[in-house]
């Protein structure tokens, strides 16, 4: 049933338009696509140029992999370690937020919590989601120092789970809403406990939701900058922090910065092509309903 709904949605995108656009519309779309793709192509070519070729602006140029080699294997670069940090933090925080967020969403939707609990919880997540994360960084810094967790991946995982929890709870809550309670009631009649009904009946139906929430949580954790900048030093710095360091040094290392930036976009590009329908669903769900 779930599958059919998604299929219908995809068909709608490919459907012929109600009103065929005129030439002005096509020109606008072409311009927009050029404006969006252009900068990506520019930084991609820059990443394959020697620094000197970037400075002289010569074209055509001799392509080189030296920037990538410098960034990934150079003796003065920690970038391989930064990638490892980012992967560990993004994977761990994604798994954790999926577990915590899915349980919370299910609990709020299915068990009759008093209004002040559910409204209070959802209202608080909404407020927290709207407030710039930098407002909480001061107390986090103090707390993690006191716990001896400053400059550890654990601190990053915990904070990333927290910032991704609101989105995960709303997304999963919206997905659970579409699963009729009768299905669980039938499972209960057949002798399932509430926990079994959740694990064996409801969760498999919510897999598209888990994928959508998981992809977004992973990407947001991978991209996250201000917390990583404030709560890490050299040891546990993530990819965005490393890129900022390339840009901030006295002599900006443009070529390396370009190569590191290109590497940092790989997960987004891959997930974009593998999971576009989940991403679109996830990004528009909260907004459209």
């Amino acid at each position: 049933m779930k599958r059919r709904r998604v299929a219908v949605r995809e068909a709608a995108v490919a459907a012929p338009p109600a009103v065929r656009g005129g030439p002005a519309g096509r020109v606008l779309v072409a311009l927009a696509l050029f404006a969006i793709i252009g900068p990506f192509l520019w930084i991609l070519t820059a990443s394959f140029k020697y620094q000197i070729a970037i400075y002289s602006g010569q074209f055509p140029f001799t392509p080189t992999l030296s920037n990538y080699a410098d960034v990934l294997f150079g003796r003065r670069s920690d970038f391989a370690g930064n990638i490892a940090n980012s992967v560990v933090v993004a994977v761990a925080s994604t798994l954790a937020v999926l577990i915590v967020g899915t349980l919370a969403a299910y609990s709020l939707r299915r068990f009759r919590w008093p209004a002040w609990v559910s409204a209070g919880f959802l209202g608080w997540t909404l407020l927290f989601h709207m407030v710039p994360v930098l407002t909480l960084i001061g107390p986090w810094y103090i707390a993690f120092r006191q716990l001896d967790l400053y400059d550890t991946r654990i601190a990053l995982v915990l904070t990333h789970v927290t910032i991704n929890l609101p989105m995960t709870v709303w997304l999963m809550s919206a997905f659970f809403r579409e699963i009729p309670p009768e299905i669980e009631e039938a499972a209960r009649v057949d002798g399932c406990t509430p926990l079994e009904a959740f694990l064996r009946v409801v969760l498999p139906l919510a897999i598209p939701g888990l994928i959508a929430a998981g992809i977004l949580a992973f990407i947001f954790s991978w991209n996250e900058f201000p917390i990583a900048l404030s709560l890490t030093s050299r040891q546990t710095a993530t990819v965005p922090v490393a890129i900022a360091r390339f840009a901030q040094q006295y002599e900006t290392q443009h070529a390396q910065m370009a190569a590191a930036s290109v590497i940092s976009t790989i997960p987004a590009v891959l997930l974009m092509f593998l999971g576009q329908r989940f991403i679109v669903r996830g990004l528009t769900l909260g907004a459209v309903k």
């Binding site: 927290f128 509430p194 976009t265």
Partner: protein, 301 residues
């Protein structure tokens, strides 16, 4: 035997208390990492916190912190710049995003491809976007100045001149977030009742009439939602600007979040930073309350 019994008891317990422990982790996390920090923020905002050999020393200095709030020279430009940034970038993003949503929906082919390309800026790291544009804006070899010089014009100092820097930063934000507005409004356009538009077409309405008189009025709720989302997210801007200008030259692109970061981690003023943080949170809450009223009013009309 004993193990089996333990397992049985444990699973019975897990089942009986499922309702409670399913919500517990989320609540604990929020209490520990948002509610407790918020309380701590209040405590910090009336204190001066210093580190002596790694040991925190707290002093109660509410008056000094408030005095600093009034004497902070960078605060005024930060507030003004943030306001200009939010109003200008969100307005332009809404206009371009709406036009693009309608234009892409009118394409006969290639809608999915257009959408794929549009989503990319939302998903790549904002820091990468910052470094991308930092290269393109570069005075000596950036693409814009290369083009200007090729056309015989003088190069422009996009990020380094006081009068242009904020506009340059706003352009990057527009590039970054038009796709988000597009995505929400495109979904809404695709969801419009086809028969209504078809009927208007049969009655002889032109394309422009259909867009202005039928589509845009019907899209109004989605437009309001996209506008509110963008406005609130625009206040959170930090990453790209940190890379592009870090607030400079002078205070030309200083934004409230950059200022917060500097107060906390460059000036090491945790107490005053906490006071500023509380002020920002209060402003956001006030905005949300107004926004909620507006949404209710729009829904009602």
């Amino acid at each position: 035997m004993q193990d089996a019994l333990t397992t049985l008891l444990l699973s019975a317990l897990a089942n009986r208390t499922f309702r409670y422990w399913s919500l517990l982790p989320a609540v604990l996390l929020f209490v520990a990492l948002t509610l407790y920090p918020l309380v701590n923020l209040v405590r910090m905002s009336v204190s001066t916190i210093e580190f002596a050999q790694g040991v925190e020393i707290w002093r109660f200095t509410p008056r000094a912190n408030f005095a600093q709030l009034l004497a902070d020279d960078a605060l005024r430009p930060a507030l003004v710049n943030t306001l200009v940034f939010v109003v200008v970038s969100v307005t332009i993003e809404m206009l371009i995003g709406l036009a693009l949503a309608i234009a892409v929906a009118g394409l006969a082919r290639g809608k999915t491809w257009a959408r794929t390309a549009m989503i990319l800026p939302i998903l790549v790291p904002p820091v990468a976007i910052g470094s991308m544009w930092k290269l393109m804006y570069n005075y000596d070899f950036g693409i814009f100045n290369q083009a200007l010089v090729a056309l015989g014009a003088a190069p422009v100092n996009w990020l380094g001149s006081t009068s242009l820097a904020l506009a340059s930063v706003i352009v990057v934000d527009i590039w970054h977030w038009v796709p988000f507005v597009f995505l929400i409004l495109f979904a809404a356009v695709e969801g419009l009742p086809v028969d209504l538009i078809e009927a208007a077409r049969v009655d002889g309405a032109t394309r422009w009439q259909i867009v202005w008189r039928i589509m845009i009025p019907l899209l109004r709720p989605a437009i309001v939602v996209a506008f509110l989302f963008r406005t609130i997210l625009a206040f959170k801007v930090f990453d790209e600007v940190f890379l592009l200008t870090s607030g400079g030259p002078g205070t030309a692109t200083e934004l409230i979040n950059l200022h917060l970061y500097k107060v906390f981690f460059e000036q090491n003023q945790l107490g005053y930073g906490a006071l500023l943080s509380l002020a920002v949170i209060a402003a956001i809450v006030a905005f949300l309350l107004v926004a909620q009223r507006v949404t209710v009013a729009v829904r009602a009309s």
